[in-house]
C-alpha cells in the first residue's frame, strides 16, 4: 500500500479562536480562518484543520471526548486508494466522499481518511553545518546564527495515539495497510512507517487503559536543530507552556520539544528524523527516561558570563 504519510489532522475543539492563534504562533500558514475554524498548512501543503467540536460536518468524537476527529493519510495514486477501499471494505463501512477521498474507522475507532496526497514537493535547503574534515555545509561568508529567520514547519510528520489494545491496533496498520514497524517500546507500542515514505515513523501507538484513548501529540518537521531551538524559544516567549524538551530522541533520532495546547494534545516541534527502508531491523526496548532521549534540556533566560571586564 503506497501510503505516503500524514496529509492532515482534523480537530474538533472547545476554543476555536485560541487554537487558531496557537497554530499560527506555532508557525503554520493560516488559511480560511474564522470563528468556525481554519486550516493551518506547512510549506508542502500538509495541515492541521480546526473546527468547533459541535461542527456537524465532523466525524463523531471518541467516547473519551478526544479532540482529534480525523486522521487523513495521503496515498501516491488512485490504485492505492482503490486497494485500500477494497481491503477495508471487506469488514467495515468505507465511505466515498465528494472530494474523491475515502473514510473508514480503524480497529480502535479512530476515523481515518485516505486521499491522493496533497503533499507538494518542496525544495529548501536543510540547516547546514561546517565541520573540519568535511566539505563546508555553508558557503564562505554565510552565517549560521541568524535570530531573525522566518521558521515555517516543512511537513506534517507524525501523530501518536493512545490506544486500548496496541497489539490489535498494530495488526490493523500492518496487515491491512502495509505499515512497517520501525522500532518498538515493548511496554508501550510500535513506531510505524507506511510504505510510501522513509521517515522513521508517521504513527506511534501507545497502549493505555481504554478511558485514555486519544492523542498524545502530533508534530511537523522543521529544517534542523537550530530552527527547532529557535522556534521553541519563540513559542515559549509567547507564553506557551513547554512540556518536555528540547532534547533528542533515540528511536527516530529526531530533535523534539513538546508544548501543551488548547486542542488538549501535546504539540511537538521536530527536526532531523532517521530514514529507513525495509532492510532495517526494528529495535525493541522498554521505554524509560534513558531509552527515550539522548539528552533533555530546559530553556533558561539569556545570560552572559562576567559582563564587560573593561
Amino acid at each position: 500500500m503506497n501510503i505516503t504519510g500524514l496529509d492532515s489532522l482534523v480537530f474538533g475543539v472547545d476554543d476555536v479562536e485560541a487554537c487558531n492563534q496557537y497554530l499560527t504562533d506555532y508557525g503554520l500558514i493560516p488559511n480560511n480562518v474564522s470563528a468556525a475554524g481554519g486550516t493551518f498548512t506547512a510549506l508542502d501543503g500538509t495541515s492541521v484543520v480546526i473546527r468547533h467540536r459541535d461542527d456537524p460536518e465532523l466525524p463523531p468524537a471518541l467516547p473519551t471526548g478526544a479532540s482529534l476527529r480525523k486522521t487523513i493519510h495521503g496515498v501516491a495514486d488512485q490504485a492505492t486508494l482503490n486497494a485500500i477501499a477494497e481491503e477495508l471494505g471487506k469488514d467495515r463501512d468505507v465511505r466515498r466522499l465528494a472530494d474523491g477521498s475515502i473514510e473508514a474507522e480503524d480497529d480502535m475507532g479512530f476515523t481515518l481518511g485516505f486521499q491522493l496526497s496533497c503533499r507538494q514537493p518542496i525544495s529548501i535547503p536543510a540547516e547546514k553545518v561546517n565541520a573540519p574534515g568535511d566539505e563546508p555545509g555553508r558557503p564562505v561568508n554565510v552565517i549560521g546564527a541568524d535570530e531573525s529567520i522566518t521558521i515555517v514547519p516543512r511537513t506534517l510528520s507524525h501523530v501518536v495515539y493512545f490506544v486500548p489494545d496496541s497489539k490489535k491496533a498494530e495488526q490493523f496498520y500492518i496487515e491491512r495497510l502495509g505499515f512497517r514497524v520501525a522500532d518498538r517500546f515493548t511496554n508501550l507500542g510500535p513506531f510505524l512507517r507506511p510504505q510510501g515514505t522513509l521517515d522513521h515513523h508517521t504513527l506511534f501507538l501507545v497502549d493505555t487503559p481504554p478511558e485514555m484513548q486519544g492523542v498524545e501529540h502530533f508534530t511537523f518537521h522543521l529544517g534542523g536543530p537550530t530552527e527547532l531551538l529557535l522556534a521553541g524559544k519563540r513559542f515559549q516567549e509567547k507564553g506557551y507552556e513547554s512540556f518536555w524538551g528540547p532534547g533528542r530522541h533515540i528511536y527516530g533520532s529526531n530533535w523534539f520539544w513538546y508544548f501543551n495546547s488548547p486542542m488538549g494534545v501535546h504539540v511537538e516541534f521536530d527536526a532531523d528524523m532517521d530514514l529507513h527502508d525495509d532492510s532495517w531491523t526494528a529495535r525493541e526496548i522498554d521505554a524509560s527516561a534513558d531509552a527515550s532521549q539522548i539528552f533533555n534540556f530546559t530553556l533558561v533566560d539569556k545570560w552572559m558570563p562576567g559582563g564587560d571586564p573593561h
Binding site: 485560541a18 473519551t64 471526548g65 487503559p209 506557551y240 507552556e241 501543551n260 488538549g264 501535546h266
Partner: protein, 120 residues
C-alpha cells in the same frame, strides 16, 4: 512552610477566571486559583493523569479553564475537571481529582495560601 503566603489581591484575578502562582519560586506555576466573586478555589497545578502525574495543566500562562469558564482543563491530553470538586469528568483520568489547596481571603480581599495541614 507553616505560615500563610500572600498570593495576590482578589482583583488580580478576573472574576470567573483563573491564575497561576509560583509562591515557592520553583520557576513554574505550582498552583492555580479560580475566582468566583469573593470565593476562591485553589488547586495544585498537577494533573492526576496516570503516567503523567504532576504535569502542568495550562496551555499558556493562566489558561486553566475551558472557553466557557465552566471547567478546569488539562492542556496536555484534554482532561476536564469540575471546578468545585476538582473531579475529572471527562478525559484520561476519570474518578481522579485535582489536589485542593487551602486558601483564605481576608477582609481586604487579599488571597492567602494556607499551610497544607490547616485544612482540617
Amino acid at each position: 512552610m507553616n505560615r500563610p503566603i500572600r498570593l495576590c489581591h482578589l482583583s488580580d484575578i478576573e472574576d470567573g477566571d483563573a491564575r497561576g502562582f509560583d509562591p515557592h519560586q520553583q520557576g513554574h506555576d505550582s498552583l492555580f486559583v479560580i475566582r468566583q466573586h469573593r470565593q476562591v478555589i485553589g488547586y495544585r497545578n498537577a494533573c492526576p493523569h496516570k503516567g503523567y502525574e504532576g504535569t502542568s495543566m495550562a496551555w499558556r500562562k493562566d489558561r486553566f479553564l475551558n472557553k466557557a469558564h465552566s471547567r478546569v482543563i488539562c492542556a496536555a491530553h484534554g482532561a476536564q475537571f469540575d471546578i468545585n470538586s476538582g473531579e475529572c469528568l471527562l478525559g484520561p483520568c476519570p474518578g481522579q481529582s485535582l489536589d485542593r489547596l487551602p486558601l483564605l481571603v481576608n477582609e481586604q480581599g487579599d488571597v492567602y495560601l494556607l499551610p497544607a495541614d490547616s485544612e482540617k
